[in-house]
């Protein structure tokens, strides 16, 4: 209910702002909606959203899997931490644009280059978060698992993973928003489809309704995934807490 209300407020502000700014700068919601419907009818909207979504999924999965493994290693093994740390700092502070441009130059304007560039951008934040999680693992529970000689898999599943899951959730949450942002840049610079590409087109034509139509469809998808996937996962992972904060 509160969410609906805040959506209505958003539309109202947009409408009023459009009245003052004029069509050329900010078209009203109904004009944007009309473009959205037209794009959806022609199938272009779904094609581009689908392409972007596929890239996000691939890059996100890749970065999370690698980041979790590397972060866990660095949190548990001192040598790995020493060796990996300079790389991590470098990657953390490398601008996304540099990675994307270099990837396109070295690997060509290909899908692999785009996905790898997005994944590399997200990787270090996942590593940092999971490293913190691995460092915070409870030594007391570790000892319990040793004394009771829990098998490796059972130990991972029942002792380690539940302790890491808040960190995984945090990495996923921040990582997802990062990937959403970077994927459009990668598409703008070197892909022939996707929301980023369409926004590039709209920019060249100064077609603001088209630009907003794609941006807002994209935002809607992000919101949907947050509510339907990310938040239920977080709720499940913390269901044992007497009262989740």
């Amino acid at each position: 209910m509160a969410r609906l209300l805040s959506f209505v407020v958003f539309l109202a502000i947009w409408w009023i702002a459009a009245l003052f700014a004029g069509d050329a700068k900010l078209p009203p919601p109904d004009a944007v909606l009309a473009v959205m419907i037209a794009e959806a009818r022609s199938g272009d909207l779904f094609l581009h959203l689908g392409a972007t979504l596929a890239r996000v999924t691939l890059a996100f999965t890749l970065a999370m899997a690698l980041g979790t493994a590397i972060g866990y290693m660095m949190g548990r093994v001192r040598l790995a931490d020493r060796l990996g740390d300079p790389w991590l700092i470098l990657l953390l502070n490398l601008p996304a644009l540099v990675v994307i441009v270099l990837a396109y130059i070295w690997a060509g304007l290909t899908e692999v280059a785009a996905i790898a560039a997005i994944a590399i951008n997200k990787l270090p934040t996942a590593v940092v978060t999971l490293r913190e999680g691995a460092r915070a693992l409870d030594a007391a529970l570790d000892e319990m698992a040793s004394v009771f000689a829990l098998p490796r898999w059972s130990r991972f599943r029942h002792v380690v993973l539940p302790q890491l899951s808040p960190y995984v959730a945090a990495a996923a949450r921040s990582g997802l928003s990062l990937v959403w942002k970077i994927v459009l840049v990668a598409e703008l610079l070197g892909r022939p489809n996707g929301v980023g590409f369409e926004i590039g087109v709209a920019f060249q034509l100064f077609d603001i309704p088209l630009l907003l139509a794609y941006s807002l469809s994209f935002a809607a998808i992000v919101l949907l995934i947050e509510t339907l996937l990310v938040q239920p996962f977080e709720a499940r992972a913390s269901r044992w807490r007497p009262r989740a904060a």
Partner: protein
Amino acid sequence: MRLEVDITSKTFMSAAGEQHDVIAGAAFSLNAGEAGVLVGPSGCGKSTMLRIISGLDHDFQGRVSRPAGARIGFVFQEPRLLPWRSVEENVHIAAPAADEAKLAALFEILELKAHRNHFPGELSLGLARRVALARAFAVEPELLILDEPLASLDVALAGRLRDEIAVLMQGRSMIALLVTHDVDDAVRLGDRVLLLSPRPARILADLPIRTPRSARGEAEIAAIRADIMRRINGCSGQPDAT
């Protein structure tokens, strides 16, 4: 099956770089079916000794020989349950081989029947201890280690839990090692009382109790307790092997 412990010394470095002696010398052995009780003042190194004996700490001088591949049931001072798993899952994860009948019997004795599906965060300390005990007994340990299982409980509750532990120990032929600072608990649960000095710990006396646990009357318990108290108060730090 036999547990032989001979720790000649254990030291650790504090964060400030100072060396602390924790154990100065402790040698004893326990046979299957025998319950040894380590009694000593707080902070004398009892828990450290348990960690060495259970194989968690390898950094010491001396030798510990456990039966090879012995299953260990350990009740830590804090319950150390997995907060994200229910009571039943906590026991089951440690003892995957335990069948339903055995778990039901354990939960019955430890008064946990109503709490099987609760999470540890929803339990009082007394209940969480019981879960830790259920977990330790569920693995059918060959070596059972109890670190102050009755500490920080009120007298009535501690008494009840002590009786429940006695019931569970009855009829199991394992080596049991219990740490406590309460002489009364030691006399009621142990077959051998090992008196420890203040830190660094040495064994001051090794006192066997000949009467089987179930046959000990209140008068006898009181007499043994008085004897031990006398030794604790009277001893000037001289080793006193009995």
